[in-house]
């Protein structure tokens, strides 16, 4: 018994929406970075599902997801480093307190 591709896509869609919701509404900077990771992982599920059950199944989807994982790790590292230097200066990780710029 094989699972149809729509189920995989649905899981990815739900994950992506949770991630987007979290990134846009959460107040804690670490949670925002985590939510972005959720969105990127939704992409990985999509790519791997398409690599097996897509219109033209082939390996490049899996290769693409390897690149996505690597780049996401680099991005998270840079994001956390910037957050740490921000925390050292401001003593806060709450994004609603990051409002020094003029509107």
């Amino acid at each position: 018994m094989s699972v149809p591709i729509t189920s995989y896509l649905l899981v990815a869609l739900i994950l992506f929406c949770i991630g987007l919701y979290g990134a846009l509404t959460k107040r804690n900077a670490v949670v925002i970075l985590l939510s972005i990771e959720l969105m990127l992982n939704a992409v990985n599920i999509n790519l791997v599902a398409f690599a097996k059950y897509g219109m033209f199944p082939n390996i490049s989807g899996q290769i693409f997801s390897l690149f996505t994982i690597t780049v996401a790790a680099a991005e998270a590292a840079v994001g956390l480093a910037i957050l740490i230097s921000l925390y050292r200066n401001r003593n806060t990780v709450r994004v609603d307190e990051m409002n020094l710029m003029k509107r």
Partner: protein, 513 residues
């Protein structure tokens, strides 16, 4: 070459076409090693000069490559065509300007603590931008995009004891992360429909898929990619990061983001959308007529994005008192103008885009060099810091006037013809509403550009002391001013040069043609 090398196929490729990229990579590696072995207290400005020479060498290689036939290596993962060369020249000239501005900006004691990193991160960002311009494969395009983005995140936060710099870097990482996730989500659908990451194979298979009832997914992936990539060019659905990031970033980095990063965004947008969606057709069932999807359906949405960017950018710029925030909103508006040729898709689309980018590059780099100088002298980023500039440094004030006129699109400047050609394309395409928005918002933009000019000539400054102009800033301003006026007086040779040396058709040709 006899092909029996242990490297197999890899030895067959013509690697010399990648020499600009190899030069930049080599120089960046060299700088990072030199930075390690150098004495901790020694002057790092020598690194900047080495990097500058590297950029000049890479520029020489790009000029050598110009006008050649198409070369594609690694299964189109790297392509050398007119499109790529034009954008690479823009990136290299832009980064060369940024290096010259940085040399008089970066100061170990005052602002940037580890100035060695500053220079080689900039070169890595440049490498990412160059890959974005000359690749026809989603994976390499994405890696180039992220190389540029991640290097820019660090560069924005490079003043690590400066609170605003930290805050803007964090805002940039978060909005950049969301944008790349959205882009990737769009890319994943288009991969699923076509089963390839090569743009040409995707284009071939997509027209079949599009006819067979998957048009919703095609549109979905188009919109996801458009929204995600709009982040890089700071166009309207994704423009809110620009003012905060531009304000908090070091001024040379702001110049980099507003010119090089934006041009790279246009390179990836044009490459992906023109190739993948270029030959999709809509079949009208009633009379059997075909219409191009990109021109007739998607072009409208791009035009809406362009119009909204012009309106929002220009109106919000009027309220700004911080000059860097004002330039950020001005940059949003300029992204709107730059999207117009892509929305109208006339025959001269590519020439118009490149011409406008050249005008924008010269004017913006010159303006940011002067902004950096004045802001640092007055210790404030307020527009009022320009008060009395004409009495302190008359030549700088005159040059700044020309740059602002060029950005506003008034005659005797490159920007005038850039805007004029783009305006003509809307008339040819008979999208009069877009032409109307362009005209109206250009008039609105005069208010804020002229407010700076008014400060320079008509307001008394707090001091009359002559402004000391470092040599590198003077060089940037001189070159940018000469370019702006020369292109403004003789636009035709430039347009002809672009037309003959960077043919857009090469983008659709196979290797060796």
């Amino acid at each position: 070459m006899n092909g029996a090398s242990k490297w197999g196929n890899l030895a067959q490729y013509d690697w010399t076409v990648m020499s600009p990229e190899f030069t930049i990579l080599g120089v960046a590696t060299l700088l990072s090693l030199l930075d390690l072995v150098m004495n901790k207290n020694s002057d790092r400005r020598i690194l900047a000069w080495i990097g500058f020479i590297g950029i000049l060498i890479a520029g020489y290689f790009v000029v050598q490559n110009t006008g050649q036939n198409v070369v594609s290596i690694l299964n189109d993962m790297y392509r050398l065509d007119g499109f790529a060369n034009a954008f690479k020249l823009i990136f290299l000239v832009g980064v060369a300007f940024v290096f010259l501005i940085s040399i008089s900006y970066v100061d170990e004691k005052q602002n940037v603590k580890h100035s060695g990193e500053y220079y080689y991160l900039m070169l890595m960002a440049l490498l990412g931008a160059m890959l974005m311009a000359s690749s026809a494969d989603l994976i390499t395009l994405f890696v180039g995009l992220e190389l540029l983005s991640i290097a820019s995140y660090i560069m924005v936060g490079t003043r690590k004891n400066h609170i605003q710099s930290n805050e803007s870097a964090f805002k940039y990482v978060v909005s950049g992360g969301i944008a790349s996730a959205v882009t990737l989500y769009g890319m994943s659908f288009i991969y699923g429909l076509t089963g390839s990451t090569n743009l040409y194979i995707m284009a071939e298979r997509l027209s079949n898929v599009f006819q067979n009832g998957f048009d919703f997914l095609v549109y979905l992936s188009f919109f996801l990619m458009l929204v995600g990539l709009a982040f890089k060019i700071s166009a309207v659905p994704y423009h809110m990061w620009a003012p905060d990031v531009y304000q908090g970033a070091p001024t040379p980095i702001t110049a980099f983001l507003s010119v090089v990063s934006k041009a790279a965004g246009f390179a990836i947008i044009l490459r992906i959308f023109l190739i993948i969606f270029g030959n999709l057709v809509n079949l009208d069932m009633t009379n059997g007529q075909q219409s191009s999807v990109l021109v007739d359906t998607l072009g409208l949405y791009i035009a809406i994005v362009a119009g909204a960017s012009m309106i929002i950018g220009n109106t919000l710029a009027m309220r700004q008192v911080n000059i860097k925030r004002m330039m950020a909103y001005s940059g949003i508006a300029q992204a709107g103008y730059l999207l117009v040729p892509f929305a109208t898709l006339t025959v001269l689309m590519f020439e118009q885009t490149i011409f406008y980018l050249v005008a924008y590059l010269l004017a913006n780099m010159g303006a940011f060099a002067i902004i950096m100088l004045v802001n640092r002298d007055r210790q404030t980023e307020d527009v009022k810091s320009f008060a009395g500039l004409y009495h302190r440094a008359p030549w700088m004030a005159i040059a700044m006037t020309f740059f602002l006129l060029s950005l506003a699109g008034l005659p005797i400047s490159a920007g005038f013809f850039g805007k004029f050609y783009i305006f003509m394309s809307t008339i040819v395409h008979s999208s009069y509403w877009l032409a109307g928005i362009m005209l109206a918002t250009s008039v609105v933009s005069y208010f804020y550009y002229f407010s700076v000019i008014r400060q320079m000539y008509m307001r008394p400054g707090q001091t009359e002391a002559p402004l000391k102009v470092p040599f590198t800033i003077a060089a940037v301003v001189l070159v940018a001013l000469a370019g702006t006026i020369a292109v403004g007086i003789m636009p035709d040779p430039v347009l002809q040069y672009i037309h003959h040396n960077f043919p857009l058709q090469q983008m659709f040709q196979a290797s060796g043609q």
